[in-house]
């Protein structure tokens, strides 16, 4: 077991920090993390550089404290049943980080099914709230296992709307559309290119550009200079290792 603050930073911990960074400038909005690493990241952001974030207990309560991943909140600051949650999305006061069964170079995301929709080879969850999320509040994505099966040329069913599809659909679709970031176990990606196609923004330390390209099924924009994802501070490491995730759930989602 590594020391709480000085042990070598693991890949999962770089992912936690990268996810936390998604909410750095979010302000006083609901953070909607889906997945273990984003949930740790949102808590870390709230405990450090984004204290105004709102968090839920995963069900209908807004929590006033920042409990460990598997602990119950001791303080409730608000009520957010599903009907209010869906209405909140339309206000834009939320930044959600969803998963993706598939994602393409324009940021279209699929969690519904793999193969032909009319009779899928593999049925997944269904569209869930991806259409309403992507048109109303910032929607980032978390992919714990970066591969050509997930990062595809074209998704089989557009659930979360990407930049090209939003533009095609017109001004109502683009008005509040924003896909800030995609974080995977290999790096951080954004759409800061002239045509809003996906760009490699940073590599997690230990990962090479070749590795990313080999695991990506479309032409990824790679700038001349690609920085590494930043190091966590010793205080951030302490919070992740001792306070938020002392049982190491992050390592099960992103093995070393």
């Amino acid at each position: 077991m590594s020391s709480p603050t000085t042990g070598k930073t693991t890949r999962a911990e770089y992912c936690v920090v990268a996810c936390a960074e998604v909410w750095r400038h979010a302000g006083e909005v609901l953070a909607g993390p889906m997945g273990t690493v984003p949930a740790i990241g949102a808590r870390l952001a709230k405990l450090t550089f984004a204290p105004d974030l709102l968090l839920t207990d995963g069900e209908a309560l807004l929590i006033g404290d920042v409990p460990a991943l598997d602990a119950r909140a001791q303080v409730v600051e608000g009520w957010l049943p599903y009907r209010q949650h869906l209405a909140l999305v339309a206000t834009g006061r939320r930044h959600v980080m969803m998963g993706a069964g598939q994602i393409d170079r324009h940021g279209n995301q699929n969690i519904s099914c793999i193969g032909d929709w009319s009779r899928p080879a593999r049925q997944l969850l269904g569209v869930r709230g991806a259409p309403v999320n992507t048109l109303n509040n910032p929607t980032s994505y978390w992919v714990p296992k970066h591969s050509t099966r997930v990062f595809v040329e074209q998704v089989d069913m557009v659930c979360g709307v990407g930049y090209d599809r939003a533009a095609e659909a017109g001004p109502s679709a683009t008005r509040f559309h924003h896909v800030p970031e995609v974080v995977s176990n290999l790096g951080v990606f954004d759409f800061a290119t002239p045509d809003h196609s996906m760009r490699l923004r940073s590599l997690h330390p230990g990962v090479t550009i070749e590795q990313v390209l080999a695991a990506t099924g479309f032409a990824l924009t790679v700038p001349d200079e690609v920085p590494y994802t930043r190091e966590p501070t010793s205080e951030e490491l302490r919070l992740v290792r001792e306070v938020i995730d002392s049982k190491g759930a992050r390592d099960r989602e992103v093995p070393a």
């Binding site: 599903y82 519904s112 009779r119 992507t134 979360g160």
Partner: protein
């Protein structure tokens, strides 16, 4: 005032094949499972099921009772994929009307308010528009001129919901953290059937609870059934949590035809009392 209490069998006796049936709750949370089990004991089939899907959808799909499913998802929550739903989709067992979660909510709201549609931003640009070619858009008549999806009303012939408490007239109360959309389901339906953990006198509804727990009004309720543990194995806080061990057993059995036959024989072949006894035996065996 009329006494609307009835049995689960009497509820099912009022349903017909080919109906559009709403089911309350969300995922594997507060589903009217005792009523679903009673429905499974009937011959009713060819249903259009409208639900934020959980094992209600799974059980009906496994028994091949669904002609059309209207849903944004089906999940068991702690187990992300509903195994019967995924298997049924992969064998093309029913038609799917796949809507976004918010579109679904506004569709129910439109139905409740007797509107043909409500405008929403959700859906534009997504393949929800492609896989549902019946969906139309509407242009704002005001200066903005924005275009929106006109989500059609999800009007229901009948609906089944499960709440914590109800009185004999159909006033129904939720005591957990989330009302889900059960009041909307009742308002959107021509006939609404409420099952409850416990039937109580009207005067006792607010003995230990605040008035805003009174979710469903009797004017929208046709029948009331007392079904203790009737949401099992889904959650019904604070009366009971989700039965995770049993849900795991359900999910494992659902992935294998022989195991599913055994599960059906043991749990679903007789009445609700037998089901609850078999569930108790399941836990005793594990103790």
């Amino acid at each position: 005032m009329s006494d609307k209490t009835m049995t689960a069998e009497q509820v099912v006796g009022r349903l017909r094949s080919g109906m559009t049936l709403g089911i309350g709750g969300w995922g594997s949370r507060r589903k009217p499972m005792a009523l679903i089990r009673a429905l499974l004991r009937s011959d009713i089939t060819d249903l259009t099921v409208v639900s934020y899907g959980g094992p209600d959808v799974g059980l009906l799909a496994a028994a091949d009772r669904i002609r059309t499913l209207v849903t944004p998802f089906a999940t068991l929550d702690s187990i992300p994929l509903e195994p019967h739903f995924t298997a049924a989709r992969q064998r093309g067992a029913f038609d799917l009307v796949e809507l976004d979660e918010a579109m679904f909510m506004w569709g129910l709201t439109a139905a409740a308010q007797r509107l043909p549609f409500l405008p929403v931003r959700a859906g534009l640009g997504s393949d929800v528009m492609k896989v549902n070619p019946h969906l139309r858009t509407v242009v704002s008549p005001y200066a903005d001129g924005e275009e929106f999806v006109a989500v059609p009303a999800l009007r229901l012939d009948a609906t089944l919901v499960h709440l914590n408490r109800a009185d004999a007239q159909g006033n129904a109360q939720y005591l957990g953290p989330d009302p889900y959309f059960d009041d909307l389901f009742c308002q959107a339906a021509d006939a609404a059937y409420v099952s409850c953990e416990q039937l109580v006198d009207t005067a006792d509804l607010l003995k230990d609870a605040a008035p805003q727990t009174l979710l469903v009004k009797r004017a929208f309720v046709t029948g009331v059934v007392q079904t203790p543990n009737g949401a099992h194995f889904t959650s019904c806080a604070p009366d009971h949590d989700r039965d995770e061990a049993f849900q795991r057993a359900y999910a494992v059995a659902a992935r294998d035809p022989q195991a599913w036959q055994a599960f059906t024989d043991r749990y679903l072949s007789a009445d609700e009392e037998t089901y609850q006894a078999a569930v108790a035996a399941f836990h005793e065996e594990r103790a």
